[in-house]
Symmetry: C2
Subunit: 296 residues, 2 copies
């Protein structure tokens, strides 16, 4: 296995290439999609996907269309989230948000375009596997994990619940529902997709699914903590948003210290789960620690 | 083969069922999606999909997930099109538009949810075909046709071009680009998907792809004509919109009579293409004529 930066570089080199070109009449659509795709970020989800394919013994190169697909989905969700009708954000990763540059209508269509393209390139990949039916089915399963976790039983459900609970008192149960969908699902998706592509046995998928849930929740708690005490410059976006919008936030519901304790405990559990795989799972142990310590 | 109403009934009976239920915390998301899905319409695209699967010798029942998927995609595109940032419409099929009932944020997410769900149910269907690899691959091809034609090389490209050319003088070339993408692609998708599911030979797919292009253009011309001289009550939406928004419209670019002539000529070509299939293609011949005569 390779390190985080190795996978991240693979992603960065392919993100624009895997975005299919469009007819010259609608170049602006591609520009708008690519504007948000190229705007950086940790690339956590596609890195996880490549790392899981690699861990399972697959070829990360073969997982690239899926890695790009999950990043396009993450990107579309940010574009739509930032719209005036949603979070109404002007800044994302230190840059003007998509609709500030291309207008609201184009931002809606660019988001739609990225979500559709994500599925299109996964299906295009599967369509090319006619001669290897076992692999074809595994790649379909990978695409299904991405689609299922991105949809109305995953990320979109989380966004709706988050929105519907604005300004309401938030139970810990609701917090968990929101976070396991809004954030957890989009970490589970690349992990399971990568394992399918790498042909991991079911028992491994089960362990890693649990790892995804634990790390996903820890990640969301760190996000909530950073929204309260983070550095706006380092985060590249406006903070204190949860309080402004009356949104559910772990750090405010549980208190800052209890949130930190919970984040630490989840991280430890995730690490323990990986330890049985020994050195080969070092990447995932380091990642869990790194996410706990993150400042942006 | 059966008639239009037979397929339409099959669709109506399954549209809500195939829409997967959601967690109780986000029931409003399902309600919002279903509100637009159940709001009627001709169901032209899913009917075409079932008819093509049937024509090719397949079982229309097996094509149902794909038929519902194409209708969900059509529905999402209408929800997003109606948004204030896009066409800003209050009325659709005689009912308040989605955002008028559920608010803009939920309408955006309901659209996203329908687009994602469309792909999810097609992938779910393919995932269940592990034991029949030949069929699995055909269903993947069907899903790819749907995805490709709905995306940035199809419907979304058409919407962007339509929008970008508002208020500009529109060449016939641009009109053709807009319509073959905005309308044609989403007719081609169900036709090709249905043929893949029914296992039609390539030569049949080629003929039907041409049929789809001809009928698609005729259909868009009739839409443009109805926007100029149609009956608002029968159409269930505001008319004269193209003129109000300075949009490209065949009837205004070519003149009403020339547009009618063009529509008739395209219909005749489509019919001629089907005649070589004799009685078995009667459905498609009748449909072409029916679309030419439509008043809503």
């Amino acid at each position: 296995m390779n390190n985080y930066d190795y996978y991240k570089n693979m992603i960065e080199e392919n993100l624009a290439d895997k975005l299919p070109s469009v007819a010259p009449q609608v170049q602006v659509l591609w520009d708008s999609m690519n504007y948000s795709v190229k705007s950086g970020g940790k690339r956590l989800r596609p890195v996880l996907l490549l790392a899981c394919a690699d861990f399972a013994g697959g070829n990360p190169e073969e997982a690239l269309p899926f890695a790009c697909a999950i990043e396009y989905i993450h990107t579309y969700s940010l574009i739509h989230d930032d719209l005036p009708a949603m979070d109404d954000d002007d800044l994302r990763r230190g840059n003007p948000t998509n609709h500030k540059v291309y207008g609201e209508a184009m931002a809606i269509l660019a988001g739609d375009g990225l979500l559709n393209t994500a599925h299109e390139i996964m299906l295009q990949d599967a369509a090319g596997l006619k001669e290897d039916s076992e692999k074809l089915h595994r790649h379909v399963m990978a695409a299904l994990e991405v689609s299922r976790n991105a949809g109305i039983h995953g990320m979109i459900a989380g966004q709706v619940a988050d929105m519907e609970n604005e300004g309401k008192e938030c139970s810990e149960e609701m917090l968990n529902f929101i976070d396991s969908n809004k954030t957890g699902a989009l970490l589970k998706a690349p992990i399971l997709a990568g394992l399918y592509i790498g042909n991991a046995p079911e028992a491994v998928r089960t362990d890693f699914e649990q790892y995804a849930e634990l790390v996903g929740r820890a990640f969301q708690i760190s996000d909530d903590i950073l929204d309260v005490i983070g550095d706006e410059k380092m985060m590249g976006k406006k903070l204190g948003k949860d309080a402004d919008h009356g949104k559910c936030n772990y750090a405010t519901v549980l208190g800052l210290e209890a949130a930190k304790d919970e984040m630490h405990s989840l991280t430890e559990k995730a690490v323990a789960l990986m330890e049985k795989y020994g050195d080969s799972a070092e990447f995932f142990i380091e990642l869990a620690h790194k996410l706990e310590r993150r400042k942006s």
